[in-house]
């Protein structure tokens, strides 16, 4: 190692010499760059000296000043404009007007292991510019994607520091790793919540199987490529972005007040047990628990970056600080990020560089069940009694469902989460023999997370007592690395353009978790929180870990003829440790794509309708190695539950409680994509339409097996299902500039997805899921061949029994007035399991977004609207009742409470009799439309700011999620969940809106 560092310093020294040499006989060239059409000046145009890496950018007024040899040629490049090369010829003033090019055609997009001109892409790749992400003042880069890309569905989870769930073109895989693959500068991640949004230069979403296929092994759920900001040529630029905001619950659910609650509870107990629980129901308004525990929370965000480059090296250094309070008391998340990247041009042809990110975050967590607790807490309980003790539900015998005082839950909860991560890569890139580029990169990702919770001794209410303090410490470590070597050949000859890529990677993922706990740790100061202070006999420790490795080879050929005919083909071969020892170690993932740029044909020359017309089609295969480690190896369970006691003494026990398949194969998806790209009116209007059809074959799937096999979970993993996602995507964008100086763009996208399980090896046997937390473990979702994944399944409610006579005459003779009437679907005169039916689909069919930007003089306005439709939610919060949970005001106002009062809402005895069974009353539409982001900015006039040596100063105000429309009667229709268990709303973090004021400053 030492020797290597010595060599690196030699290179650095050498590069300094080069820099000095370059400045030898230069003259200063100044000028202004403007738009060839309307003569407006163009900022941030790259001005480079041809044949070197020296260059700068034009300032906000389009001016540049560069030191260049008198015989040099300057190259002006700007996205959307045709590149111009102008010889200096010893002139000191050169003004340039750039001709607008067909923007779509020249745009370069990042694809797997390389870049391509947008026009050459034959798959479906969507690109989002970094500024569109950082501009939103979003705390997480993934949530900023919401509504931006057709076919990409982002489900926010709410809690600060947690990443939203993202699905690309529907649920692609069910078992194991269902995360999208994020590739940040060549390193693979499951989540990018560690990234400071301001560090992102661009994001590419690979949507179709052919473009994903080059990432074969992990591409089944889609691939998101993130490129980070590198140093730009020119003098050091200092950017500061800061914002401060508040967050508050929006679209809250109104619950009953004390009086109403008592009324409903008495009605329920009267029906259930012929008695009144609350003899004196005069409680007045009582406690509003949401008001008590929720708050308006602050969020602060500061980011500063310095970047620049000289001829031989570039740098980018950034620091970020985020301090976000949760909307519940105590909940807080702080994140510090630091990122440094350097690139060195060692000598002509060889470039080396690295980037490294350090992240440290600390969160003070909210109790995991607090949202359910707030929903169910009885309003008749005071937060505190007059003597200062906690209000106790036990005095009213409210029972299990509402036995706790949420304030006490909050007060005695103490859990912190500390997370550290160091990640990055080093690379070397060698260009040789004119057309070849060899690149090697080594990436690492090392992180440690520590969750520490302390339960003190307390006696709050009858149900909330702790007579021993408990300290629990969980530590999770990840040590991952990835190596990548690629060789690219790139050449244009005659009408042909050819790029050939060959590459190899190896990667290893190691995870280690240790859980430890102990009792009676004194807690007078944080320094006491060590298990060495716990009672020796109470200390407990377990650990577990996993290792998996993969080695891969891949290649790709891109061929273009006359810029009209495009052909791409790739093949990736992966071997993964998960499949070692089986017959299917290697997975092969081919792809092929073709494109026809019709608008470049001779016969299109004279037409004026299309400024761009391109037809493309592709097919590819992707895989998923995200299966459990050694899935077909049966292991011995030696968990504590198998400890036997003889004469009171523990004796270690073991057992084999699983069945495994004899062999397991790669899960493979094959997808087809057909796209049409159209540009009209000089590309001011662009329209893109895609059809896709992707089938996941031999999906790794847990199928249900007979309970009589006696396994722990009655499931067997294996390659046992085929399913399909098929749909359309439409994107239309319009951008223009009016004569009075208003520039604007409007872009709309819609994704339509249909998900269907084609085949399950278990035949017609369903996979029932979703029981967690619902009354009597009701399972409201069902996955079965012929339906979408995880459909809601249960009884169809046709009305409410009004009278005892109605009950007697019905198929539910054991019902009571006020109970649900279920449809007797098979007409056999009794209501049983055979009468159940499909009640709704938790997979969104439509997801859409409308994104707009307006700029007029110094003002800019962004308005983003986003929504989903054709989706259902199971209102588990309302359905789950174990006792006397609170009711929503909506339920109270509409409930059945005597003949004729309601034929749709049941009585307050909502979980009594067979009312608790999964049924259509709890299934609601999950459609919503949201004003995702609105932002108004004002850039101070340069004449003012230049006095302070400020290049640009912009102030802005924005609001996220400020306006939401939905019919759902819970907090948020964005529910999430694992694929077979999605859309069941119980204990979901409430939806909140964020209002920020911020500033962008450039020196």
């Amino acid at each position: 190692m030492k020797r290597i560092f010595t060599k690196i310093s030699v290179f650095t020294f050498l590069s300094l010499l080069f820099i000095n040499a370059a400045f030898a006989q230069n003259i200063t060239v100044k000028g202004k760059v403007s738009d060839g059409q309307d003569q407006t000046t163009l900022p941030a145009v790259s001005v480079m000296i041809k044949g070197s890496t020296t260059g700068i950018q034009t300032d906000v007024n389009g001016n540049y000043s560069i030191s260049a040899p008198g015989n040099a040629t300057l190259v002006f490049t700007y996205i959307g404009y045709t590149t111009q090369e102008i010889p200096v010829n010893n002139r000191t003033a050169i003004n340039v007007s750039l001709a607008s090019s067909s923007q779509q055609l020249e745009q370069v997009v990042v694809v797997g292991y390389g870049t391509q001109r947008k026009v050459d892409v034959t798959g479906s790749v969507a690109t989002i510019k970094g500024e569109d992400i950082s501009k939103q003042a979003s705390t997480n880069p993934v949530s900023a994607l919401q509504g931006k890309v057709a076919g990409v569905s982002v489900t926010n989870v709410g809690a600060p520091g947690k990443s939203p769930k993202i699905t690309i073109r529907g649920t692609g895989t069910i078992y194991g790793n269902t995360n999208v693959l994020y590739v940040v500068d060549g390193v693979w991640y499951d989540d990018i919540n560690f990234l400071n949004p301001a560090d992102i230069a661009s994001i590419s979403v690979l949507k179709d199987a052919s473009s994903q296929s080059i990432y074969g092994i992990r591409a089944a759920n889609g691939v998101v490529l993130v490129t980070t900001v590198r140093g730009k040529n020119g003098d050091p630029t200092i950017n500061y972005n800061g914002s401060i905001g508040i967050q508050r619950v929006t679209n809250g659910v109104k619950m009953t007040n004390g009086q109403e609650y008592a009324t409903a509870v008495n009605e329920a107990t009267m029906i259930a047990a012929d008695s009144l629980l609350l003899k004196n129901p005069n409680f007045g308004k009582g406690t509003n628990w949401y008001d008590q525990v929720l708050r308006t929370a602050m969020v602060t965000n500061h980011q500063i970056s310095i970047n620049g480059a000289s001829e031989k090296s570039s740098y980018n250094f950034s620091l970020g600080y985020l301090n976000q309070d949760g909307i519940v008391e105590k909940n807080n998340y702080k994140r510090y990020t630091a990122r440094l990247s350097n690139d060195f041009q060692i000598f002509k042809g060889l470039k080396i560089g690295y980037n490294v990110t350090g992240v440290s975050s600390t969160s003070s967590d909210a109790p995991t069940t607090i949202f359910r607790g707030l929903y169910s807490a009885a309003p008749i309980i005071p937060v505190f009694n007059p003597d200062g003790s906690y209000g106790d539900p036990a005095i009213y015998k409210l029972g299990n469902g509402s036995a706790t005082n949420p304030q006490a839950t909050m007060d005695f909860f103490n859990q912190t989460n500390k997370f550290y991560k160091a990640t990055g890569n080093v690379y070397a890139e060698l260009k040789f023999a004119k057309h070849f580029t060899f690149k090697t990169s080594a990436g690492g990702d090392f992180s440690q997370e520590e969750v520490r919770s302390y339960t003190p001794v307390y006696n709050a209410t009858v149900a909330q007592v702790s007579n021993t303090s408990i300290l629990a410490i969980d530590r999770i470590e990840n040590r991952n690395w990835i190596l990548e070597n690629t060789l690219t050949y790139d050449n244009k000859f005659g009408d042909h353009s050819l790029t050939v890529l060959a590459g190899q990677t190896a990667q290893r993922y190691r995870s280690y978790t240790i859980n430890a706990s102990g009792n009676n740790v004194p807690y007078n100061k944080d320094g006491d929180l060590y298990l060495s202070l716990a009672d020796a006999s109470s200390r407990q420790i377990t650990d577990k870990g996993s290792v998996n490795t993969a080695t891969s080879y891949f290649g790709r050929v891109n061929y273009g003829f006359k810029n009209k005919y495009l052909l791409n083909a790739s093949l990736r071969a992966d071997a993964a440790s998960q499949f070692f020892g089986g017959s299917d170690l290697w997975g092969y993932f081919p792809s092929i794509g073709a494109g026809w740029v019709v608008s470049n044909e001779e016969f299109m020359k004279d037409q004026e309708v299309f400024s761009n017309l391109k037809l493309r089609g592709s097919w590819g295969k992707v895989g998923n190695a995200g299966v459990p480690i050694n899935p077909s190896t049966q292991t011995v369970d030696q968990s504590a539950g198998l400890i036997a006691f003889f004469n009171g003494q523990p004796n270690t026990g073991a057992g084999i409680r699983t069945l495994v398949p004899p062999v397991i194969f790669w899960e493979r998806s094959a997808g087809t994509d057909i796209g049409l790209e159209m540009g009209f009116l000089s590309n001011r209007l662009n329209v893109e339409v895609d059809y896709y059809n992707r089938t996941t074959q031999q999906a790794i799937f847990d199928i249900p097996i007979l309970g009589s096999l006696g396994t722990e979970n009655s499931t067997l993993i294996g390659n046992q299902a085929d399913f399909r996602n098929r749909g359309y995507e439409f994107v239309a964008s319009w951008s223009d500039k009016t004569s009075n100086g208003l520039t604007y763009s409007i872009s709309a996208n819609v994704g339509i997805n249909n998900n269907k399980v084609l085949n399950v090896t278990s035949g017609a046997n369903p996979i029932d899921k979703g029981g967690a937390g619902l009354t009597s473990g009701v399972l409201p979702t069902r996955t079965v061949a012929g339906q979408a994944i995880g459909m809601f399944y249960g009884y169809q409610v046709t009305g409410i029994f009004q009278t005892a006579q109605e009950v007697t005459a019905s198929a539910q003779p054991d019902a009571k007035p006020g109970d649900f009437i279920y449809a007797d679907n098979n007409g056999d005169g009794t209501i049983d399991g055979n009468d159940r039916q499909y009640l709704g689909n938790p997979n969104p069919k439509y997801s859409y977004g409308v994104n707009t930007n307006f700029a007029y003089k110094n003002f800019d306005l962004t308005l983003d609207i986003q929504g989903v439709a054709g989706v259902d939610v199971y209102n588990g919060n309302l359905a789950a009742r174990f006792g006397n949970e609170n009711y929503t005001k909506d339920f109270f106002d509409n409930r059945w409470h005597g003949p004729g009062t309601s034929n749709s809402y049941p009585s307050a005895n909502m979980s009594g009799g067979r009312n608790y069974l999964a049924n259509s009353f709890w299934v609601e539409s999950g459609a919503y439309v949201r004003l995702r982001n609105i932002q108004l900015g004002y850039t101070l006039p340069e004449m003012m700011t230049s006095k302070w040596k400020i290049k640009k100063l912009r102030v802005f105000a924005n609001a996220q999620n400020a306006v939401n429309f939905f019919g759902y009667k819970g907090f948020s229709p964005e529910v999430g969940g694992t694929p077979t268990n999605a859309g069941v709303d119980i204990n979901v973090y409430p939806l909140f809106a964020t209002y920020n004021l911020g500033v962008n400053l450039t020196f």
Partner: protein, 504 residues
Amino acid sequence: MIKTNLIQMKTYFNTSIQRWCAVGLLSTVLLTTSCKKSFLDIDPQGQQESEQFWKSQEDATKAVNGMYANLRTWNNTAFPALAIESIPSDEADKGSTATDATFFNLYDTFTVTSTEGSFLGFWTGQYQNINLTNQVLDNIPAITMDESLKARYLAEAKFIRAYSYFRLVRAFGGVPLRLTVPKDQTEYNIPRATKEEVYAQIEKDLDEAASVLPQAYGTNDIGRATKGAAIGLHAKVAMYQQKWADALSLTNQVMTMGYSLFPDFEKGFRTQNKNNSESLFEVQCELLPGNKDASNSQYSQVQGVPGVVGGGGGWGFNVPSDALNTAFETGDPRRDATILYRGETTPQGDKIPTTTPNPRYNQKSYVPFSMWVSGFNEGAQQNVKVLRFADILLINAEAANEMGNTSLALSSLNKVRARARGTQTGILPDVTATDKTALKTAIYKERQVELALESDRYFDVIRQGRGTEVFGPKGWKAGKNEIWPVPDQEIERSGGLLTQNPGY
């Protein structure tokens, strides 16, 4: 194959770009990591492969232990068990607050259908026991180990298998009879055996177990299945089939094995008197400090008194019914030992709050409040009584009466009454009836009060053929409710190979 590739790569690196140090660094990393013998051959981490199990005596011991541990799971001792074996009887009601876990009412009113979750829970719970016993019976014979210990382990497994099948056959009638671990998927789905076949297998297992199991164990093994447990359970199984001669001879055998009724009925149920002189078999439960997962029995918690400050929070289910409350003869001390009354003070000094939602709770599962440790299930240390000597005496009495041996019947019955009576006088006089029917009625009655809330009553009444008489008013129907429905999901997953019981 991988190795070859790596060698190629090594050559490639060496010849073309070795001279650049940065690249050299990377290739060094690459080669050192991937030149390991097999980069892709990763062992399971922290998990023993089953292929490496079943090799030693120690493995055998652990596997046998695991089987016992499984008997205390939720499915075996908590909600599913109470729903199927206790709450539908006339001795217990649902309990807790009116709106809590109302699905129990469907069992109590016999309106339940095959999709209700406790059927599957109970079914699966028993088959989980059976799977563990079959693992032992399949694999231990090949282990080289102490042969007498091996024989004993196999016998213990047979006892637990028989016990689990007995609970299944009582509840569902004939069930799929799995006696080995399925070799492959072709053996996954098997039809129901007949009730007779299942009983025959239970008796075979118990016979074989009894012939090997010791009469008692050393201190470190107290709680394992004994010869007495096997014979005693066999007697009960015989009684359920009305094989009176067998029941009589088997119980006679047990009565010579040194068991005796524990003098104080109430104290016999407290944790310090686990595995006492009266006990033939108990499910062993403990509160192991620092180990919540091992302290996983919720048997006592789900039946415990709710709303007790510092008492850990019982859930208050399976509460004594009015019928049970009035079933005891005047002055029978077993009433106060079986039922915790709202407001009473227990012999251990606990005050049952006057504010509890139900007037009565199960005292047989009661653990004094002071024994609760926060973070643990309340009453995790309470054993579940499976078979007591009192039951054996009552089986003996009933079988003797059926076989015409009235004096033996009376003597066995009166032993049970005498213990209950203790030192008190004027209560629980000896039964003197000699009429077969009257004596039978007296024995039935004695079973009701002696074994109350021990999950015996429901199937006992059905066995006696008195379902309509006793449970009829609650909705029980002859010809249907003698057995429960096979779980709907199980029939569905069998692709219809499993058939449903009549009436469901």
